[in-house]
Each structure stands twice: as structure tokens, then as C-alpha cells.
Amino acid sequence: MKTLAFLILAAPLLGGLTLMVAGRNLPRRTCEAVACLAIWASFAAALSAWLSFPGGREVITLAPWFSAGPVTASLSVLVDPLALIMAVMVTFVSGIIHVHSVWYMRGEEGYVRFFCYMNLFVFSMLTIVLADNLLFLFLGWEGVGFCSFALIGHWYRESFRGLAGQKAFILTRIGDVAFVAAMALLVTNMGTLSISVIDERVITLSANGALVLGLLFLFAATGKSAQLPLLVWLPDAMAGPTPVSALIHAATMVTAGVYLLMRLFPLIAISPDAMLAVACVGGLTAFWGCLAALSQRDIKRILAWSTISQVGYMLLALGAGDVTGSMFHLLCHAFFKSLLFLAAGCVIQVLHEEQDVLHMGGFLRKARPEIFWLLLIGALDLASIPPTAGFFSKGRVLESVLAQPGQVYHALFLLAAAGAVITSFYTFRLVLLAFSGEPAKPFTHHPAVLPTGMARVLWPLAALALVAGAINLPPWVGGGWLERALASVPGVVPAHHVAHGSTAELVDLAAGLLGFGLAWLLYAPSRRPAPAALIAREDGPLSVFRGGLGLDALYRAVFARPYQALATVIWKGVDWGVVDGAAMGSGRVFAWASERVRPLSNGKLTLYLTMLVAGLAVLAAVLAGGK
């Protein structure tokens, strides 16, 4: 098990390092092969570790790291079903994304850099997934932050892409501050950073201590997972290459926050208030995200907002005390969201970098039927139409929330159900606009030819997106495998407390169909107004949500502008005025004084001698007087 755990981490790290050191001197095919092989080797190790895992939990120390005062940090991994299932999912989805990227990036220059960071990204995520020591986990946590910065800004020559990378980095770092604070609190209160030890000692925490720690970790998670209030970086992160979006949204960074909370679930679960805060953040973000997705025109931004919304559902399930449900939705989401993003990447390349759904239209379905079917499968998942995986996982989330007592949870259930309707609506809006009817702007190019493998490699994802619901069927069908697999993870409670039977699934189904019906009413080719009128309608009252409900603008006004103003004052007032002014002023004083002294040196030898003697005379007089 130790070897396998080591291999899971070492393979992508080695791949990344190889590319970093030797990538420039290797042929392109070799680089791509190294990157893909590294991930698939990691997948093989993760899969065999999972298959051979006897159950329970195991802490394996790979290497000692350091020990300073009360803090002991070692490079130790915590292997349990939760981590292994997550590792298998991450490596599998990342593997497909890597293979897809080989085609997607086929015409690009910086492919060595790209694949190097992709490998390191997966390595960092696997560190988060496996680490037992929170400090070791934090290495991965910062690693995904850095790699996302590098990958979102991959095409850095266009400044807005570089800025999007910086924005992602800075906003997630705001969350990281809470992470560091929580670690400091853990060290002072519990004297350990090991997750397995924390789980054992968690009962010794005071209620307030648990609440504070829970809230700090929640804030850290909102940064990485793009939840309220730190969600504004994710839509901008669409500036990166589409496979990067798929990687960030489906397998790595965005799920890292939710995963962290799952990992620390025993810590959060002992404070009901912290749980409620997690649920509220999740529920509100879920609703916020789908409202913002409602009127986007950019296909990738629709998907980005839907990620924010779906991760909100995961947090909501977690806040309702259901780790299994959260994990279930995380896994299903990973499959269908990566599928959606990669299919959208195909669409964008076919249409020569066109991203506006209003400019797509029905010929795309005829020109590239395979892409249409792939995207449709992802969309059915997202809209929770049975029997796709998304239907079961979202049903499970709703079920968990419904099962919780208390009015807040009931309100959150209503919010989540309404969110499900809207989700279905914007999903089918995307499908109908992108694949049917007349484009609002006549498409003049020929659709680009794509390598056949680029879409074909997505079929495994599509298959999983269709059938992954089977890993955790609801109790009224017969219960789930995931339920049993995660039973040994601390804090996981069996779902038999759910007494509502199939209510949640019925709500889920109704929401999916209702959303579809609404989308059909507005966007079916036969019911849609003429292109010009459609654009007018889309840019009219419906576009109020396009800016993400003003959160970005609010931050700009409340934080960015005053900061900028302050920086300008310090720059122009303090730096230019005071510091530079003092330096220049003293220089000017000396220049002025030297002008006054300059005439004294007139080159006359006798005058110099006179001065010399006068000086000596003064010196002698002083010395004589001093005696």
C-alpha cells in the first residue's frame, strides 16, 4: 500500500519535473506521451490501491519532514475509501483531459509549459486528496492555486488572460489566510495537524473552538471552491484553455474545497452552527450560481456559473450532514462537467473560437453530430433528467436537505429545488441555442475539421455520466454501493435516517422537466423570435444576471477601487512626493551649495597656498590653545 500511495503521488510529479527539466529538448510527441503516461500510471496505482484496500483507515508516513516545537509535520498520507475513490476519480478524469488536450493544444506553442503545469496540477490535487498532515495538504492546496494561476493565464500575451490568472490566485489566497489561521488554532488547541489524530481528539474541542475552526475551514473552502463570498474568480478563469477549465472545474481545484470539508467532517460536524453555515453558503451559492448562469451568452461562462452552482449543492449536502451525498454529487459532477467542458471545447474549435451561444445554431448538430450527443448527455446530467447520474446525485442532495429538521434547512430545500428548475432551464437553453435553429449571426466559415480522437476520447466520460448514478441508488431502489464503501469514514452516517422515501427524487424529476419545458417555450426553434429580436431579448431584461448579480462590481467598488485609490495616493503622494522628494531635495541642496562654493577654486596657485597656510595657522592656533 505504501508503494502504491507513493506511486500515485510520484508519477505526476515525476512527469511534471521531467517536462520542466528536459521538456524543451524532447520531441513534441514524447512530451505529450510523458504527460499522459504520468497521469495514467497514477490512475493505475490509484485503482490497484483501491481494489486491494482492505478497508478501514491507514496512515502511511512516506518521509519525515520537520519538527519544530509542538508542530510535527511529516509527509504522511491517510488512505481510506474516501481518499481512494477521490484519487481514482481525479486521475481518471485528468487522464482523459490530458489525452484530449494533446489534440486541443495541437497548434499551440507553449505545450511543454502547459503539460508540465497540468501534471503538477494533478500532483497537487492528489496531495490534497491523500495527505494526512494538514501542512502537507497545504502544500498541495497552494500547489493547485499556483498551477491554476499559471494555466488560466496560459495565453499570457493577451493581458486579460494573465489578469484572470492573477485574480484567481489572489482571491483563493484570501481563503488560504483562513486555512493558515485554522492550522495555527489547531496547533495551539490540539497540538497536532494530523487529520487522523484530529478525528480522534475532536471531542475535546469546546463548542466555540469547533465553530471557529469550522468557519475558518469553510472560508478557506469558499476560496478554492468558488463559493460565496469568494466566487468571482471562477467565471473569469474561463480565459484559460478549455481543457484547463475542465480540469479546474471537474477534477481538481474547485472540488478541493468541498473535499477538504469532507476530510475534516468530524471537526465540522460537532458544531451544529458550523454545519448550518456550510449548508447556507452551499444553498445560497447554488441559487446564486444558477441565476447568474441564466443569461450568459458565452458557452464557457454558462458552464462556469453552473459549476459554482453545482459545487454549492455539494456543500449543501455536506452542511446537511451527508458526506456520502456530497461525494456522490462530486463524483457525478466530475464526470458530466468535464464532459460538458471538453465537448464545449470541441464546439469552440469547430466554430473557430466562437463562444457566443447565440451565434451557433442548428447546423452544428448536422456538421458534428457526435459533439452534439456528447454535450447533450452532459446537459441531461446537469439538468437531472433520469436516469443519468446527475439525477440520482442531485436527488440525493435534495433528500439529505429535506431530511434535516429546522426551518432554515426547509428554506434551503426550497431554494435548492428552485435552483434545480433554473439549472434545467439554462442547460436546455444552452443546448437549444447552440444546436438548433438559425444562428443570430450567419456563420460564414466552414466548420473546422477536428481530429477524430478529440471527441471520441470523451465517450468513457459520457458513459460514466450516464451510468454513474448506479454507484449509489437511492434507498427506495435498493441503496448504494458508495454508501457502504464510505461507511468506515469517520462522520459518515448511513442514509437510513431518510424517511421521505422518494419525495426528493420526484421533486428532482419535476424540476428537470419543468426547466426543460420552460426552455422549450422560450428557445425551441419554432417558438424563438427572429435572430435580431432574440438578441434584443437576451440583452434586454434577461441580461441583468449576466454580471454575476453584481458581486464582482461590488467588490470592485468596495475593495478594488479604494485600494487602487490608496495605492495611487501612496505611489504619487508618498513615494513620489515624500521619498523621491526628499532624495531629490537633498540632492538639489548640495547642487545649490556647490554652485556657491565653485568660484572659490579659481585655479590660482597663490590663493590655494594662502588658504592652506591660513588653515594651518588656524589649526596651529587651535592646537596651541588646547594645550
Binding site: P599, S601, N602, G603, T606
Partner: protein
């Protein structure tokens, strides 16, 4: 009979002042050099007088060094003047003003 130190010092001061006046007031380079020599000689007289008074040999030894110094100074100085005269055509100290600020 030995002259008292006060007389020796008075002579030295007189000579020094004359030398200084010569060095400062004259504009001919040779006269300036001459003035400096006289000032150095005044120093030598003071040193020898003091040496005799306190029966210590350092003053006389120092005077020997001063003699060597003045000889060297005169030779180097005169060589410089020859060179300067060749370049600028004058020995007037006012003619050398390239060090003007």
C-alpha cells in the same frame, strides 16, 4: 656660550614668516619654491635648537631627513618647472588656471 632657545625660536619664526610671505606673495614659481625652502629651513633651525636644549637626538635626525627632503623637492620641483615652462611658456603662477572650477 650657547644661544638660549628663545632666540633660536625667534629666528626660526622670523625666517618662517619671511618664507611664507615669499611663497604666498610672489607669483614666480621659482620664488614660491624658494619660499617653501626657507620655511623648511626655519623648521630645521627650530628642531636643532630644541634638540640642543633637551639633549635629544631626534631633532637633529629629523633635520637630516628634512635636508634630504628639500634636496629632493628642489630637484623634482625644478624639473617640473622646466617642463611647465616648455608647455605654457611662462613661470607666472597666474598662468596656470586649468584647475579652475
Amino acid at each position: 656660550m650657547t644661544a638660549p632657545l628663545e632666540h633660536v625660536l625667534a629666528l626660526a619664526v622670523l625666517l618662517f614668516a619671511m618664507g611664507a610671505f615669499c611663497a604666498l606673495a610672489r607669483r614666480n614659481l621659482i620664488m614660491i619654491l624658494l619660499g617653501v625652502e626657507i620655511m623648511l629651513n626655519a623648521c630645521s633651525i627650530a628642531l636643532v635648537g630644541a634638540s640642543l636644549k633637551w639633549q635629544a637626538m631626534e631633532g637633529q635626525a629629523f633635520t637630516l631627513f628634512l635636508m634630504a627632503l628639500t634636496a629632493a623637492e628642489a630637484s623634482v620641483g625644478l624639473a617640473l618647472f622646466v617642463h611647465a615652462r616648455k608647455r605654457a611658456g611662462t613661470l607666472d603662477s597666474g598662468g596656470y588656471s586649468s584647475m579652475k572650477g
